[in-house]
Amino acid sequence: MDVPTSTTLESPAPGLGSRPPSTGAALPPAQPGAVQVDSGPPPAEPPLAEPPPAEPLVDRYHRSTGRTADRIFRLATGACALSVAALILVAVLYLVHGSVPAFRANGLGAILSPVWDPTNQKYGALSFLFGTAYTSLIGMAIALPLGVLTAVALVEILPKALSQAISLAVELLAAIPSVLLGLWGIFVLVPLVRTVEIAIYKSPLGLKKLPIFAGPPLGVGYLSAGVLLAIMALPFILSVTREVILQVPSAQREAAYALGATRWQAIRRFILPYSWKGIFGAGLLGLARVLGETMAVTMVIGNTPQIKASLFASGYTLASVIANEFTEAPSDLAISALISLGLILLLVSILLNGAARIMLLRLSRSHGTPQEVK
């Protein structure tokens, strides 16, 4: 009985295409005897004369039925999908094409000059790069610890109902439009920050001598913008970190408690170390979110193209300068320079988003939970 069990059973049956090919070898090798009883006469040929069975079922049906309605539907939806692909191509092409005059005129390195002077043909974007980076850094420095600690509280410490309520409250933050947060920023946050800055400025400890607190207490500036960005990043960091911590297998927790750890020790030494990669990914996602933030930042940053280390200083970001100066750029070259700033924003956001997703994907793979291979 040389029933060729291998050919029919090793390759996963076609209808189970949802299982990723790499983990497809999950079927146990069958006993020759069992095959004989179950399948009776061996199949003369494979049920459908198609290429590798890893393809989704649907494809096969299309080719064999060829109904016009199916074709039309497939074409229509395919056209929609094409529009998405076209959109990203158009976006990248337009930005690259628009930036070329600026790069050609000043050379790639000139964009790193700190002098932005459109009337004199000087398009150095260093102050904007710095402003974007610095405000995002401040935002992440506030949001990341806050988000992680909150996630820990929600998953490990607080009762479920309260935890869900708090989650909702933070997620609703993500729904608030940037311009409205900016409105709140101008009238509530900036005076608050100014009060804090004045206190530091007048402090008998001489804190104002430190470079990080140098400069007059304006209220507007890097610190206010950073706080607003932290508020915007928090919901993303919280929801991803929550998921990451929830995914920690209970075996870890049980092992910790079995060893006599306190709750905090379980968290600190057993759960968090498991989640660092995911937390890092959450941080990257949050960062990607805040880098391109325009409205709220424009309303509280002071719009000064300079590079200062102080939290109190006013600055300028890539997105803000585009918003403020695009409609009135004095020359085509200036427009091109602004478009090149947009290109920088695009590339950085692609990089960060890509890195974040790879990070999170690796995390889920290393945990052994089979994620859909994208």
Binding site: G302, T327, E328, P330
Partner: protein, 337 residues
Amino acid sequence: MTPRSLIRAGFAALLLAPVAFAQTTSLSGAGGTFIYPLASKWFHEYNLLHPNIQINYQSIGSGGGIRQFSQERTVDFGETDGPMNDQQLNDSKIKPIHHLPLALGGVVPIYNLPVNGLKFSGETLANIYLGKVAMWDDPAIAKDNPGVKLPGDPITVVHRADGSGTTYTWVDYLSKVDGEFKTKVGVGTSVTWPVGLGGKGNEGVAGMVRQTPGSIGYVELIYALQNKIAYAPVKNAAGEYVNASLDSVSKAAATASIPADYRVSITNAPGKGVYPVSTFTWILVSPALPDESKRKALHDFLVWAVTRGQDYSKDLGYAPLPKSLVKLELKDIEKVR
């Protein structure tokens, strides 16, 4: 009505909607925030008189007005208080462009301090905006204000973040009175500021000064008046400290010789009682505008603006155009039709 007929009616309405709007002549313009309070009053009143003419003016800064009208060609007219230079006129994608004065105004220094009644000379203002005078109790400010107890706080300088005709007037004046300012900063709608925060539009600067104790800024007079922000008199060429007013601004225009194309700077004008930081503000129009109904609407509006419209100027803190100038202008407005 059955649902089906309702749907049909809805479709018909949707299709007809653009037609219904087509009876209205809609004009769009972009330009400075300097004129915005007066211009929006004008367009509002004119629309009440002629409901089928809607003029949509967005104040994105004089720089924006020049760019969108002469280069991008996205609006039907521009507006600026910093006149276009020859290079810009040459490079314009629509020609010819006429500058037609609409009003006279003054740019005033505003400040936010517990002390009131401060005065400034041109040199002091230039040095503040150069960053050389950084504290309120600096001797230069004390010299302008003898006997006044000045706080020992740092000065927060506020300027425009966008391309602005108000900026043009301000730096034009400061460059005339201070050589270092002229070389370091120069004249234009957009300059490289040595120090200071950027506000968007006259409104943005006024808003920032209002919110920030210890700050100084420059805005068109009406923005200081409407928002009850303290503003200071400036020392003129004759050595007097003069406040911006209808009278002092008009005097600045009186001595100027107006060229045929109306582009003239009247800052630091000589004479007594003159406010030194005064300026005309111009509308930018072109007879090359393709749509004839739009040209006609613009023409009719402009005739109204330089005659009847001038009655609104005083209440809003702008000085009306001199009558002799209006006579000349009415002839040039005919070119627009």
